[in-house]
């Protein structure tokens, strides 16, 4: 029994994070783009984005008890803000092909890149672009948060289930707006946006999502986080204890939307093109299911859930669609079967294991040690899963 001191634990966490990031960096350099292992990086990138969005949804649904279904709409805003302002000027005519190059004639990333490029050369271009990217991501978050603040004014006064429907409705309205022809010179209406600046290394989304999640964790562990949880547990008692319901709900809603918008910007970078069509209520449902799989009220859970979800739906389960899975091939395995299996797994989790992977607990080194002890003393067949979650857990910034 070696007790880990607090200091040792944080050293351990820092080391694990550093090793993990280094591994990603080196792996990215070494693994060629057509290798099968490349999928690992795709999952890592998309998983990180989804992890951030899932955690932001968890802040709202799991920690503040507001059942909001507007996440896809907020991601849409973030993705578009980022894309619109980072398309290089030279590409604008071709991207906005039906709108004479659109209304906006500058690119934040390009301009910054050029500006710094003249001073510092190639490194300056890269630096400028990255500053531009980060700046735009923050803008995406802030603007999304602004929209959320406006939506929140009427919506947050509603009761739980009405809130769900109203946020769902707002997400639909937002999507309709972005597809609207009259908004075309800015949003390119029905056509997608592309050719904008994106990141080059998988480290970017991992670090960006990691930092955002770290902020959310810090917030949850602060006095404000406690007020959120109080609202979740009992609105009337929270109010009687002096917690201003509306102010705190609004705060949680805005912060959650900020990160959803930022996540949307990251998703835009991951996809390298943005169209408004995928940002439907189905996307919100998927994020909600990630939160449920991970455990409502657990940040670690949401992170693990996101990676598992992305890996399963985009990678591991694909065999179910193509008719060959684990050496089994059967006629009933045709496109769409993967999603049925997936939906069944999710229903099983919802019905029989409603606490999800982590319940409302968080990752801790003691928990991990305890987990391994339990594994080695009995169950053996979980070792694979264990291994997987372990790597995921390492990402959790303490």
């Amino acid at each position: 029994m070696t007790e880990l001191t607090k200091r040792n634990k944080s050293i351990l966490s820092v080391i694990v994070c550093a090793v993990f990031l280094a591994a990603v960096y080196i792996g990215d350099m070494l693994v060629p783009p057509t290798s099968g292992m490349r999928m690992l990086f795709t999952v890592l990138e998309k998983g990180s984005v989804y992890a951030l969005v899932a955690v932001s949804m968890n802040l709202l649904n799991g920690f503040t008890g507001l059942f909001s279904l507007g996440q896809a709409g907020f991601m849409l805003i973030g993705a578009y803000i980022y894309a619109i302002f980072s398309i290089p000027t030279a590409m604008r005519d071709s991207v906005y092909q039906y709108f004479e190059g659109g209304l906006i004639k500058f690119s934040v990333t390009e301009n910054l890149g050029n500006a710094l490029g003249t001073v510092m050369g190639d490194f300056g271009v890269m630096l400028g672009e990255h500053i531009g990217m980060i700046f735009l991501m923050l803008c995406a978050g802030i603007l999304t948060a602004g929209v959320a603040a406006l939506i929140g004014l009427p919506v947050l006064r509603l009761k739980s289930d009405y809130l769900a429907i109203a946020t769902l409705g707002f997400a639909e309205i937002l999507r309709a707006f972005f597809q609207w022809k009259a908004a075309g010179p800015i949003t390119n209406s029905s056509n997608l946006l592309r050719s904008y600046t994106t990141y080059e290394t998988p480290l970017f989304p991992v670090i960006a999502a990691g930092l955002c999640i770290a902020f959310i964790v810090l917030l949850i562990n602060s006095s404000y986080g406690r007020a959120f949880k109080a609202i979740r547990d009992d609105e009337i008692a929270a109010e009687a204890m002096g917690v201003n319901l509306f102010k705190h709900k609004q705060m949680s809603f805005i912060i959650s939307s900020f990160f959803a918008g930022l996540g949307g910007a990251l998703l835009a970078m991951f996809q390298s093109s943005v169209a408004s069509t995928p940002f439907t209520s189905n996307m919100t449902y998927e994020i909600l299911l990630i939160v449920v799989i991970g455990g409502i009220g657990s940040v670690t859970g949401s992170i693990i859930g996101a990676y598992l979800f992305v890996a399963c739906s985009e990678w591991w389960l694909r065999g179910l669609d193509s008719g060959a899975f684990l050496g089994i091939s059967a006629g009933f395995m045709r496109p769409g079967f993967r999603k049925v299996v997936f939906a069944v797994i999710i229903m099983c989790i919802v019905l029989f294991y409603s606490r999800g992977i982590m319940g409302n607990k968080e990752f801790s080194w003691e928990g991990l040690v305890g987990f391994f002890k339990r594994i080695f003393s009995g169950k053996k067949k979980t070792s694979e899963k264990n291994h997987k979650t372990n790597t995921d857990k390492e990402k959790e910034a303490r």
Binding site: I165, G169, A176, F177, V292, P335, G336, L351
Partner: protein
């Protein structure tokens, strides 16, 4: 006169689609009234009813297929209740709502798998799909039948709820879940009956709706479902006449908006309406005020 003929198609379409929304909305409002649950899967059940009809009609005559579809939908509705909602009765509200979303996800994905993602063409029900002329405007027979049938069914339902024992039990349960349980009402039976009625009406609604808009795809149910829910909220959740009036209003307004060539915002309008009504009169047109006990 010309103006009237030109604009009549919108009104006709509005009334017809309103009637179909109404039939779905009743299912929402009744389930919500009793379980305080937005049954997200209700719209998808409506879609499944449409799909089953497509597959049945391929091998059976329509007049046999229709009753089977209705029975199937009712059984499906009850199964969903027993499997996905009953075990969570004492769980927090959010869990049961998530379960509903899960069921909706499952139904849609199963439909996607079964149809292979292809739109299925709804079988032609000879009498309903016939084209008729009303004041110079051409439309399908079903457009005219829908409002009549809807209102007839609603009257029957209101009578059932007002004058039968089970109807009384339903009213009691929707008023106070715990107390009526103490009074010896078999809650599960009441809920089952609610789901039977809701599914039955959804099946009828699906026959009417898809006779008019003949393509069935896995996502066909979600938009009508959402709109029907908005209609239920608009009319005052728990109130059946409210749901029906709300549905007709939404159906007609939606088509008038399209007639004004603002198609883009016809869905948006529904949600704006929802938010306005929730702000101004959260209990809807005919809803009753509930006070939280402290």
């Amino acid at each position: 006169m010309n103006f009237f003929v030109e604009n009549l198609p919108y009104i006709l379409a509005g009334i017809s689609v309103g009637g179909q929304y109404a039939l779905i909305a009743i299912g929402y409002t009744m389930v919500y009234g009793i379980l305080r649950l937005i049954n997200f899967a209700h719209g998808d059940m409506f879609m499944v009813a449409g799909l089953v009809m497509v597959y049945l009609a391929a091998s059976l005559p329509v007049y046999i297929a229709i009753p089977i579809v209705i029975v199937f939908t009712v059984v499906l509705g009850c199964t969903i209740e027993v499997v996905a909602y009953r075990p969570l009765r004492s769980a927090p509200r959010m869990s049961i709502m998530i379960s509903a979303i899960g069921v909706s996800y499952l139904l849609q994905n199963t439909a996607l798998y079964v149809t292979g993602g292809l739109t299925q063409t709804y079988p032609t029900i000879p009498w309903l799909a016939k084209t008729v002329t009303v004041f110079g405007a051409h439309t399908k027979m079903v457009t005219l039948i829908t409002p009549v049938l809807t209102i007839a069914l609603v009257i029957a339902l209101v009578i059932l709820i007002k004058y039968t024992k089970i109807g009384m039990a339903m009213r009691a349960v929707s008023r106070d879940f715990e107390t009526s349980q103490l009074m010896g009402i078999d809650i599960n039976r009441v809920i089952t009956v609610t789901f039977i009625i809701g599914s039955f009406l959804a099946a009828i609604g699906s026959i009417l709706y898809f006779s008019n808009y003949t393509g069935v795809m896995p996502t066909s149910g979600s938009m009508p479902g959402l709109k029907a829910f908005v209609a239920a909220v608009f009319g005052g959740i728990g109130s059946i006449p409210g749901a029906v009036i709300g549905a007709f209003i939404i159906g007609i307004c939606e088509n008038i908006i399209k007639g004004m060539e603002l198609t883009v915002f016809s869905n948006a309008f529904t949600f704006v309406l929802l938010i306005i009504i929730l702000m101004v009169k959260p209990t809807g047109l005919f809803g009753e005020k509930n006070i939280d006990k402290v």
